[in-house]
């Protein structure tokens, strides 16, 4: 194995991580829109809309990048996943369509529009419905139930087996909790009034506990549901320090929330989410789709990977300053309303 295959896989997981931290949190924002309660419910909704309005379409493009890296760099993995997980992917897509369009309809409808309430509910409902399906896709990829026939190289046409099982469902719920947790933590920084910050702080703490509980559930189910991952998580040399680091980040995020140090809470929550994703990636290495497709066996020829990585690198040169500017305008220090 050369260095190109792992580098392309690294780029894939990097894009996935950024998507989870940015686009994932936008879905989490919808969750808190749905759960907005109490005297400040409208203010909560406004803060959420204000936070995601200018950036969600940009964040969403990371998902496209994941798909493009997957089908260019690892075409067999893309085919295997698209065939066996047709149903959850389709359901996630319907959620993505409803979430995005309802959000924009609400923002750009004329103010007296009668349908505002309906757009709101659609946006929030679709934000809750989509992450579990995205998580199920990840759970199914890890489960070892997506099989290709070793003789013919063809994908075994099973359309429910891989994702309709306890482990992927648990991963789906975990994903929802994680996105909601990230969103609540970011919103503590976005909110300008103290009471709003408190609202989101309580929500973030609640979500943090839920993330912990569901992580445990996933771990327990992985014994049956994703044996290879379980081995990876349990036995490898790197796994113990890695778990320790993830746990420390999680505890640190909670502690910072407790102490109302929101900037540190945001940093640590992001670190925690990223470590979880990379823990999964390392646990299933060298497999891309457990147990038949490895990073090497699914990869496109080396010159294609080299071109792909070159394009990604050159694109990043343009992208990074543009992204930086976008976030500086809307999220920087001067961005207070």
């Amino acid at each position: 194995m050369g260095w190109l295959e792992p580098a392309a896989a690294g780029a894939l997981f990097a894009a996935l991580t950024i998507y989870a931290l940015s686009g994932g949190a936008d879905f989490g924002g919808g969750v808190w829109d749905l759960l907005a309660r109490g005297p400040r419910a409208e203010a909560q909704r406004r803060t959420i809309a204000h936070a995601i309005g200018p950036i969600w379409e940009t964040n969403h493009v990371w998902m496209i990048v994941v798909v493009v890296i997957l089908f260019t760099g690892f075409p067999r993995a893309f085919a295997a996943v698209s065939i066996t997980l047709h149903i959850p992917i389709t359901l996630a897509l319907i959620g993505i369509v409803l979430r995005g369009s309802a959000f924009v309809f609400r923002s750009f409808d004329t103010p007296e529009g009668r349908f505002r309430r309906r757009w709101s509910l659609t946006f929030a409902g679709a934000s809750v419905m989509t992450p579990p399906f995205l998580g199920m896709v990840v759970g199914a990829v890890a489960s070892g139930r997506i099989r290709t026939d070793p003789a013919t190289g063809r994908v075994v046409p099973e359309f429910f087996h891989a994702w309709l099982a306890p482990f992927p469902i648990a991963v789906g719920l975990f994903t929802l909790a994680l996105f909601a947790f990230l969103a609540a933590v970011y919103l503590t920084v976005e909110a300008r009034e103290r009471e709003l910050q408190e609202d989101f702080r309580i929500r973030a703490l609640g979500a943090a506990v839920l993330v912990g509980v569901l992580a445990l559930v996933c771990f327990l189910l992985s014994d049956q549901g994703a044996p290879l991952i379980r081995q990876g998580l349990g036995r490898e040399r790197w796994s113990l320090p890695f778990h320790a680091l993830t746990g420390l980040a999680a505890l640190g995020a909670m502690l910072s929330l407790w102490r109302r140090d929101y900037l540190w809470a945001r940093r640590l929550a992001m670190a925690q989410a990223a470590l979880i994703l990379w823990g999964w990636a390392l646990a299933q290495a060298p497999f891309l789709v457990v147990p038949d497709l490895t990073v090497t066996s699914a990869a496109a020829p080396p010159n294609v990977l080299a071109t792909l990585l070159t394009v990604l690198g050159a694109g990043a040169v343009v992208l990074v300053p543009a992204l930086w500017y976008l976030y500086a305008v809307f999220k920087g220090r001067g961005a207070a309303r």
């Binding site: 940009t58 798909v67 760099g73 075409p75 893309f78």
Partner: protein, 439 residues
């Protein structure tokens, strides 16, 4: 409905839906930027209002374009895993470049829509141009991928598998230049005339409204200038198809016999069983003359290929006729409007001309859909011309009629909502302005 047919229908429906919003993402930013540029120059608040109005419409259209485009990227795998396993590495390069164009487009649009009060006016305007340029680039990149399906290049086939892949040669395939040019021009035609048609309609009902008058003038200028290039770039595409996809070309023209001095065929009913076209208007020698600049040049007819290699002739022929009819009408309107404008030194607003522009409003979008039908259906039975058949690319997933129905219903609903929202926005713009001039 067979699964293959359901898959094709779902793909066609999703693309036909997406393309309407994608061209808005290409054309609308140009209109907003022109209006904002005039505001910066004249400081006439009317232009600022217009730029904001168009930006609001663009926001809605762009979001629907973005989500329907996301659906498409996944559908390539959900419906055609065979195609993607074969072609993914070959055409991944334009798709990755397209990804970066999407990023820039979304970033600049975020700044444009939400940054009116946050960034300096010149920077804000520059962000608008950023949306316009990256929108055009996204279109160009994805169309080079489609051009590769029509004129595959940059690989060899060994044991039925692609080998020696050269992603750069694949991207700069022989069809890329003509197809991207024609698509880009088509996007400006379609958006220019659609927007001009809406504002012409408003002008017919509120003849004094200066907002609609400026909007109409800007949009019509874009549409008319582009419309002059529609037939020119279309002609380049046609010459290209004649050379690289002669079966498609014969189907476009419903030409059955191989002939020297072939006629140009308008309308008629191609009968695939009897292998004749009935009731068409034929202009002798014109097809050979147009295609090879030689009225006696030979053009191959459909009978030169076995039946199973031919695309559905009637659909392709009628779609092509429709596109050319629309293109001719739009170019004619552009020439007429240009003549009137030149004589009167003002954009023509006579009532009969406004009605003509209203009538032209949908024709660009119609030509766009018709043109894509020619390209895609005319390529059948191949996904990748000459290399991979559509039937071999489809997913083994059964019950595909279910997602097809779901997405059709979803998109019908979205389309209806978008129409209602845009109507409300246009109506509100008149009212807002009316209030101000009354006050």
């Amino acid at each position: 409905m067979t699964d293959l047919f359901a898959a094709r229908s779902q793909m066609a429906m999703s693309l036909a839906f997406h393309i309407l919003f994608a061209v808005a993402g290409i054309g609308m930013p140009l209109l907003m930027c022109t209006a904002e540029g005039r505001w910066l120059r004249t400081r006439d608040p009317l232009y600022l209002q217009l730029a904001k109005q168009w930006a609001k419409g663009t926001a809605v259209l762009f979001a629907v374009g973005a989500v329907s485009g996301t659906v498409l990227s996944f559908e390539l795998g959900l419906l055609w895993p065979g195609f993607m396993a074969y072609a993914g590495p070959i055409i991944g390069m334009p798709f990755s470049l397209e990804g970066f164009a999407f990023f820039l487009e979304a970033i600049f649009l975020g700044i444009y829509l939400y940054g009116w009060e946050r960034v300096a006016p010149r920077l804000h305007w520059a962000a608008g141009w950023g949306v316009a340029v990256s929108g055009a680039l996204s279109g160009v990149f994805v169309v080079t991928a489609n051009a590769w399906m029509n004129a595959p290049a940059g690989f060899e086939v060994v044991d039925g598998k692609p080998r020696n892949i050269d992603p750069i040669a694949a991207m700069f395939n022989p069809a890329a230049l003509t197809e991207t040019l024609h698509v880009l021009v088509a996007a400006y035609i379609a958006v220019g005339f659609a927007v001009a048609g809406i504002h012409a309609w408003m002008l017919l009902h509120h003849p004094r409204d200066p907002l609609h008058r400026s909007a109409y003038a800007i949009a019509l200028t874009l549409g008319a200038v582009a419309a002059l290039f529609g037939p020119v770039t279309g002609d380049m595409s046609a010459k290209h198809v004649a050379r690289y996809q002669p079966v498609k070309f014969a189907a476009m023209e419903a030409l059955w016999e191989t002939e020297r001095g072939a006629p140009f065929t308008i309308g008629g009913w191609p009968d695939e069983a009897a292998e004749v076209t009935r009731g068409a208007i034929e202009i002798p020698y014109l097809l050979s003359a147009l295609t090879y600049l030689d009225p006696r040049a030979e053009i191959k007819g459909l009978k030169a290929w076995p039946r199973e290699e031919r695309p559905p002739v009637a659909i392709v022929h009628w779609a092509f006729t429709l596109m050319v009819a629309c293109g001719t009408a739009l170019a004619g309107t552009a020439v007429l409007g240009g003549g009137l404008a030149w004589r009167r030194r003002a954009v023509p607003t006579a009532r009969w001309f406004l009605w003509l522009v209203v009538a032209c409003g949908p024709l660009g979008m119609l030509a766009l859909e018709a043109g894509w039908t020619v390209t895609e259906v005319g390529r059948q039975p191949w996904v990748v011309q000459g290399f991979l058949r559509t039937a071999d690319a489809v997913t083994p997933m059964p019950w595909l009629v279910v997602p097809f129905t779901l997405f059709t219903l979803l998109y019908l609903m979205l389309a209806a909502i978008v129409v209602v929202l845009l109507r409300r926005q246009v109506a509100a713009s008149a009212a807002l302005h009316g209030n101000r001039s009354n006050a």
